[in-house]
């Protein structure tokens, strides 16, 4: 068994800092990028970062996208994703510099001394093999256990991680298990070969809040009981505050601040940390609903294909001019399907959508151009919602040509105005989407929908893929545009903080039904129904000990895990 074999490079007596498991010194990581039409160039992803991690401790690595969190985490396994190279510094694990071991050395430590838990377990499990075969693979490969021993340990871990049917879940294939469960199976997989260190790379980011809380608690318990050390990578400070002993804040591949969890969230010393820690809630005074809604959804029931499973059951909501209706709920609750039903992409089986006092045609193809113009959409993934071969000017100009027949200088003038509105300026008119940042791409999508001068814009998780500070900017832009243009939003999101910032009224959806609906203040004021309570109490708070308190106080178990 693993414990009895001395691991290569176990710290010898007398070596300094014997409690240190991982010691990264002056790490420098570079990559070669190939910009179109230019010569390849080297960029530095991580500048001179050092950290130490003691045995059994958890260090949170936090930062926005591009901060180098995952790159640093993977360097502890000697791994560079997609041509990323470690070009300087030392990574000392169990007393030896792993960068000197070469490929053979990396293979021996991966899956044995250091294991990895990926963001999307659904993608990280091989669809062709049963879970158990994948969970015990590393232990068998490195000879730390026989198959029977490894399977026994795996079942024990499944139990510890509160997976349903721990004895038999290993027989299943990845597609037969839900996302939250897979994330826990992946944690069991990492623990199965009894490593010294686990790198958790955003393990709960892809999950619903109600599922995240359970997975987070399971991971925390497993770390505590197995005494494994961990690097916990996330962009969510509230999450990392629940599991870490220490937190390291990174930005643009450089260390910003490193300290105990309490110090970082209570007394941040750096301005950037402070910006991350402080709550970015936008004060948004809710508007009273007007006298009559311009768009009214009445008793809609819908299903995909000829399925008997109703994705929407008897859904009714109203949208008032210049106001925002937020639709919240977890994945699979029917939020996006409601948007599809309103836009006519999925004709409902029953019920009607009334617009300006007249019913809208069920099918998109039956709607006149004018109706299409009035309802526009913005999507979560801005980069795939734009044609990469078209310039910003063409993208925004298209609805101007299509709906208003604008051409030439008139169109260009309007495009420039719209670019001003989204605070980008006409300098961007000839750029391609690939040259824009994530936030800028989403702004272009907003401009494109505004170009049609619609009464309603459906925003489907438009800030979910963005870093918090960028998302904040987008929300402020949307609120400003609403005032100027008197446009209404149907704002679909799973993020309750966003809802508070933008909504006038809220519909909470659960399994295809609207379980709570009304003005923002009413919906967010107790007494709550069981599901809204679960949803609200599952949103992580930046407070040590929140996780335990939240789990204890729950009235209803979450369904999707």
């Amino acid at each position: 068994m693993a414990d009895k074999q001395p691991k290569p490079g176990q710290p010898k007596p007398g070596q300094p800092r014997s409690g240190v498991l991982l010691d990264i010194r002056n790490l420098r990581i570079e990559a070669t990028v190939y910009p179109p039409g230019e010569a390849p160039k080297n960029i530095v992803l991580v500048h001179d970062v050092s950290l130490t991690l003691e045995k059994g401790k958890v260090l949170g690595l936090i930062g926005e996208s591009g901060a180098g969190k995952s790159t640093i985490g993977l360097s502890s396994m000697g791994y560079g994703r997609g041509g990323v190279r470690i070009t300087g510094g030392e990574v000392i694990l169990n007393g030896r510099d792993i960068l000197k071991g070469g490929n053979e050395g990396f293979r021996k430590l991966r899956g044995r001394e250091v294991c990895y838990v990926a963001q999307s377990a659904a993608a990280a499990f091989n669809p062709a093999h049963r879970l158990m075969d994948q969970v015990v693979e590393a232990a068998l490969l490195h000879g730390t256990a026989t198959r029977a021993e490894a399977e026994k340990r795996a079942v024990a871990l499944f139990k510890k991680l509160s997976l349903p049917n721990p004895e038999s879940i290993g027989e299943r294939f990845p597609h037969q298990v839900s996302g939250g469960q897979l994330q826990r199976v992946m944690t069991a997989m990492a623990l199965c070969s009894e490593p010294d260190l686990i790198v958790f790379d955003e393990p709960t980011t892809a999950l619903d809040v109600t599922t995240q809380i359970d997975v987070l608690a399971a991971i925390k318990d497993a770390i505590r009981d197995t005494h494994v050390a961990a690097l916990y990578i996330t962009h969510d400070l509230a999450v990392v505050a629940q599991v870490s002993d220490e937190i390291m804040v990174l930005r643009h591949g450089r260390l910003v601040e490193w300290g105990g969890t309490r110090q970082i969230i209570k007394e941040p010393r750096q301005e950037y940390t402070n910006a991350l820690v402080s709550v970015h809630e936008i004060e948004h005074q809710e508007q009273k609903p007007g006298t009559s809604p311009f768009l009214s959804v009445k008793n809609i029931t819908a299903a995909y294909g000829r399925s008997h499973i109703k994705v929407l059951k008897n859904v009714s909501v109203d949208i008032f001019p210049g106001q925002t209706l937020a639709v919240v709920g977890e994945s699979g609750s029917g939020k996006s399907t409601l948007a599809r039903a309103i836009t006519g992409l999925l004709p409902p089986e029953q019920g009607t959508v009334t617009f300006d006092g007249r019913p809208l045609a069920n099918r998109l193809a039956d709607r006149p151009k004018e109706d299409l113009r009035q309802l526009q959409m913005i999507y979560q993934m801005a980069d795939v919602a734009m044609n990469p071969r078209q310039t910003v000017g063409t993208i925004i100009g298209r609805p101007l040509e299509f709906y208003f027949g604008m051409r030439g200088r008139e169109r260009d003038k309007r495009v420039a105005e719209l670019l001003d509105k989204i605070e980008m300026g006409k300098g961007y008119i000839d750029r391609y989407p690939a040259e824009l940042s994530g936030g800028q791409k989403q702004r272009v999508c907003i401009a494109r929908s505004l170009a049609a001068k619609p009464k309603l814009i459906i925003c489907d998780e438009v800030t979910s893929a963005l870093d918090p500070l960028v998302a904040h900017g987008i929300l402020e832009l949307l609120l400003g545009l609403q005032k100027e243009e008197n446009v209404a939003y149907l704002f679909i999101t799973h993020d309750l903080a966003t809802v508070k910032s933008i909504a006038d009224s809220i519909a909470v959806m659960y399994r295809g039904e609207v379980v709570r609906y009304g003005a923002k203040s009413t919906v967010l004021t107790p007494p709550f129904d069981a599901y809204t309570d679960l949803l609200l109490s599952s949103v992580p708070e930046m407070e040590i000990g929140w996780l335990e308190k939240a789990i204890k106080g729950r009235r209803m178990a979450s369904a999707g895990n």
Partner: protein, 335 residues
């Protein structure tokens, strides 16, 4: 390591797992049958459009109008086309492929030995070519973009780019003329011992292997490379698996469907596309038989051989479809 552990419990849902697969497989087979019927119509129509008259062809230029008319009546050539089609189809379904005009022999009897010869050659070519192509593809992925990959791709593409007759004659020149290891003419006869038979077909089988190798190798390489971008391949690398184990255990099983497809297309080619190679090596297979009878304008034989080739092609593609369905764990093990 990823093999099933012994003594595992039956998994939940085993009882109903077959239903979606059975449905899909039944659909494929039904489609294949419809397709085959459509092809039979085309073949029949095609031979009807061809100029020339069967009775004239049988009796020759010197026949009298009376004897022509009699023969037409006797052969049923005056009946409408659809009746003649169904009569032909009915015959085929009962194993009667008709009679060759040129020799007066029963087509079914003469085809039987030939078909067997063709299948024998195709089988041994496939036994060499398919594993070789897949292994070369795996090696090319392992050393992707390096010199090993380029060498494998280069040689395979070169062997495919040369026309079959050229490859065939080069093989004959080196291995039959210069070294005399194998015969240049692949004569086989009934009751020939297995060893001699293999020796006789060695050169045509090698020529066929070289011709089909590159296509399967390149497709294997491309299909696996596509999968190599997946997150689960990274997971496997981060478990410490060697590069080759990652490809074999984690990438290959997920690339199997496109690989099976291209393998089946090439197997079909080995059976129906061997005309040139059979002619070069004077091998008594279907290709030779078809070429002989095309030159003799023997329409019934051309129809029968065409239909058999179509059936082979369609069935191999059905097998590929079914294998791809069965290879998909989502269909094999529904939720």
């Amino acid at each position: 390591m990823l093999s099933r552990s012994a003594g595992s419990k039956p998994e939940p849902g085993l009882a109903d797992m077959s239903s979606p697969i059975v449905k899909l497989v039944a659909q494929r087979i039904a489609l294949g049958i419809i397709l085959l019927l459509a092809v039979s119509v085309l073949i029949f129509a095609g031979t009807q459009i061809l100029p020339g008259d069967v009775a004239q062809a049988i009796l020759g230029q010197s026949a009298t109008p009376e004897s022509l008319a009699n023969l037409r009546e006797q052969l049923g050539l005056n009946d409408p086309a659809y009746i003649r089609y169904f009569r032909w189809l009915g015959g085929i379904l009962t194993g009667d492929l008709g009679t060759a005009m040129s020799s007066g022999q029963d087509i079914a009897t003469s085809i039987k030995g030939r078909l067997w010869n063709t299948l024998f050659l195709a089988f041994w070519a496939a036994v060499v070519a398919v594993p070789l192509a897949i292994i070369l593809g795996l090696i090319a992925v392992r050393y992707r973009n390096g010199w090993v990959d380029k060498l494998i791709s280069g040689l395979a593409l070169a062997s495919t780019s040369f026309p079959e007759f050229f490859v065939g004659y080069v093989l004959v020149f080196f291995f039959a003329v210069q070294h005399q290891w194998f015969p240049a003419i692949s004569t086989v006869y009934d009751g020939m011992p297995f060893g001699e038979r293999i020796q006789a077909i060695a050169l045509p089988a090698a020529a066929l292997t070289l011709v089909v190798l590159a296509h399967m190798m390149r497709m294997t390489r491309a299909a696996i490379l596509n999968v190599m971008q997946s997150a689960y391949v990274e997971t496997a690398e981060l478990k410490g698996l060697s590069a080759f184990a990652v490809i074999r255990r984690h990438a290959f099983p997920n690339a199997i469907a496109p690989i099976i497809n291209v393998v089946m297309l090439n197997l079909a080619y080995l059976i129906v596309g061997v005309v040139v190679v059979e002619v070069i090596f004077v091998y008594p297979g279907m290709g030779q038989y078809l070429v002989d009878h095309v030159t003799k304008r023997d329409v019934p034989v051309v129809q029968a051989v065409g239909l058999i080739f179509a059936a082979v092609y369609i069935s191999l593609n059905i097998i590929a479809d079914i294998a791809a369905i069965v290879a998909n764990p989502r269909l094999r093990h529904p939720k």
